[in-house]
């Protein structure tokens, strides 16, 4: 894990207009690293993801992104009543390589098909996107990111509306993508899951902590991240700490 970082932030502040939505953010993301991004709703997670995509420019500090990042938004944000197949959606990832008047051609659709195969959806390539389950749609959007040839995937609460089998399947996919050297940033509310990733970044309007889950995830950091509004539950083998809007 000592390869050059793909993303480096130092004293970063980003926002809209003249107001910073997040400040004091400093972290680095290396190839193959899975980083959980923890924070309350409105705490600046989406703002940070937008900055990594280049949609917002830093107001203060530094942000170096040396590779292409792809967004995997919550699937409810895309149109489910839209006349496109899973393959059509995956092929949208080819647009950034094409001149503005071109549409994805046969070669691009082959690449998209290969990406769907990687996320184990090749047999549903011709299915209408809106008819897929939440987990399947999430994997189609990941395939779209792979077609973009993104080295960093930014997942915005990918587990929010998934049932357990779909969650486990997605987690396995994230593990295998990381093993291939892709880095994954996962905005999440699931602390148990965050403990299994390589690193954690906690933000609540400003950075609370960053580092390995074992070093970072203690009660003090979580209280600061979630504004003290956390509940403690007895769990198997100790305590589990859940933010109140877990699984919204």
């Amino acid at each position: 894990m000592q390869a050059e970082p793909l993303i480096e932030a130092d004293g970063l502040a980003v926002g809209y207009g003249s107001a910073a939505a997040i400040s004091g953010v400093g972290f680095s993301l290396r190839p193959g690293e899975r980083m959980a991004l923890l924070g309350p709703n409105g705490g600046g997670k989406t703002t940070l993801l937008r900055a990594l995509l280049g949609e917002l420019t830093p107001m203060l500090g530094e942000l170096r992104v040396s590779v292409r990042c792809a967004t995997v938004p919550q699937t409810e944000r895309s149109r489910l009543d839209y006349p496109v197949s899973a393959l059509d959606v995956a092929a949208m990832g080819a647009l950034s390589r094409l001149p503005w008047w071109r549409r994805p051609g046969r070669r691009d659709r082959e690449v998209a098909m290969e990406a769907l195969r990687l996320v184990d959806l090749s047999d549903l390539a011709g299915e209408t996107y809106g008819k897929l389950s939440g987990g399947q749609r999430q994997r189609v959007l990941i395939a779209r990111g792979l077609v973009q040839d993104a080295k960093v995937l930014l997942l915005d609460e990918p587990f929010a509306s998934l049932d357990r089998p779909s969650s486990e399947r997605l987690e396995a996919l994230i593990r295998s993508l990381a093993a291939e050297g892709r880095s994954i940033v996962i905005a999440t509310h699931d602390l148990e899951q965050a403990r299994r990733w390589d690193s954690v970044l906690c933000i609540n309007r400003s950075q609370i902590a960053a580092g390995s889950p074992a070093d970072v995830l203690d009660v003090g950091v979580l209280e600061a991240t979630y504004g003290g509004a956390i509940v403690e539950l007895p769990g198997p083998g100790g305590r589990a700490i859940l933010p109140p809007h877990h699984h919204h």
């Binding site: 006349p83 949208m92 647009l95 950034s96 399947r169």
Partner: protein
């Protein structure tokens, strides 16, 4: 069945209507997918004063419609910048103002007869200029939509992610609105200020019921628009009904027919999808 084709007026009407139908069917798919039906109807109504002024001046309606639609678009952009005014409210304010202005002009003593033609269209009397304008428009719309197709499809699917996908949704939408405005200005002469929106919404909405993919949707929308145009003109020829209104009714009938037909088509497909989903997850 071919008797109407012997009639020079009707032959020209069929050509005019077919050209408008091709334009309206194809553009209409994006109007429906981008939920722009209200905007399309508003644009059509807002050019009313321009059309009346052109009629008073005795110049082609196109020369009044084009500046009016530009003025309406600029006014909507300006009003929606007022704090607390939503885009929808801005459209409502501008359109009623423009339509009211048009009505004042139309009912003034200096106004020539022919208000009915502006409101309800004159599909049976296209001039050579109207036919050329409709043909040119069909070509421009076909080229324009082909060029921005992938961008429109991506932007309509997920506008927030479109930019990071390199789809520049703003440019594609600007092209769409420009083509729509031009199409309305041209088509309004045939179908009238009050009925023109039918050809931009009905055929595409019907096609959407019948297919789950964009390419067949565009093909079907064009086919439905052309067919409804022919049915309307035949109805008008044999039953002596008003041309524009007959076409609008035929389009509505096509939409109503598409509802049960779409349900039949979707029925077996939905259960098949559910089965494959259950085995995969």
């Amino acid at each position: 069945m071919f008797e109407p084709f012997q009639d020079e007026f009707l032959r020209r009407a069929i050509v005019e209507m077919t050209l408008i139908a091709v334009t309206g069917g194809a553009l209409g798919c994006w109007v429906v997918l981008y939920r722009l039906s209200y905007a399309a109807e508003s644009l059509a109504h807002s050019i009313f004063p321009g059309l009346v002024l052109a009629a008073i001046a005795g110049v082609p309606l196109l020369l009044g419609g084009a500046p009016a639609i530009l003025l309406a678009a600029l006014a909507i952009a300006a009003v929606s910048r007022v704090p607390g005014v939503s885009r929808e409210a801005a459209v409502g304010v501008v359109v009623t103002t423009m339509f009211g202005l048009g009505t004042l002009l139309a009912l003034s003593p200096s106004s020539p007869p022919g208000l009915q033609g502006i409101l309800f269209g004159d599909i049976l009397g296209p001039s050579d200029g109207d036919l050329v304008a409709a043909a040119a428009l069909a070509v421009v719309v076909a080229i324009g939509l082909t060029l921005v197709h992938a961008r429109l499809l991506t932007g309509g699917f997920d506008r927030a992610a479109a930019r990071s996908l390199g789809a520049s949704p703003g440019i594609a939408e600007a092209v769409l609105m420009t083509l729509l405005a031009a199409a309305i200005v041209v088509a309004v002469q045939g179908l009238g200020n009050l009925l023109v929106v039918a050809v931009f919404v009905g055929p595409a909405a019907a096609a959407r019921q019948l297919t789950e993919r964009i390419a067949p949707m565009i093909g079907l929308a064009i086919a439905i628009a052309v067919l409804a145009g022919l049915v309307g003109l035949y109805l008008s020829y044999y039953a002596g009904t008003a041309g524009g209104a007959s076409i609008a009714l035929a389009i509505v009938a096509a939409y109503l027919l598409s509802l049960p037909l779409g349900g039949l088509l979707r029925g077996p497909r939905s259960s098949e999808a559910a089965t494959s989903e259950a085995t995969i997850v």
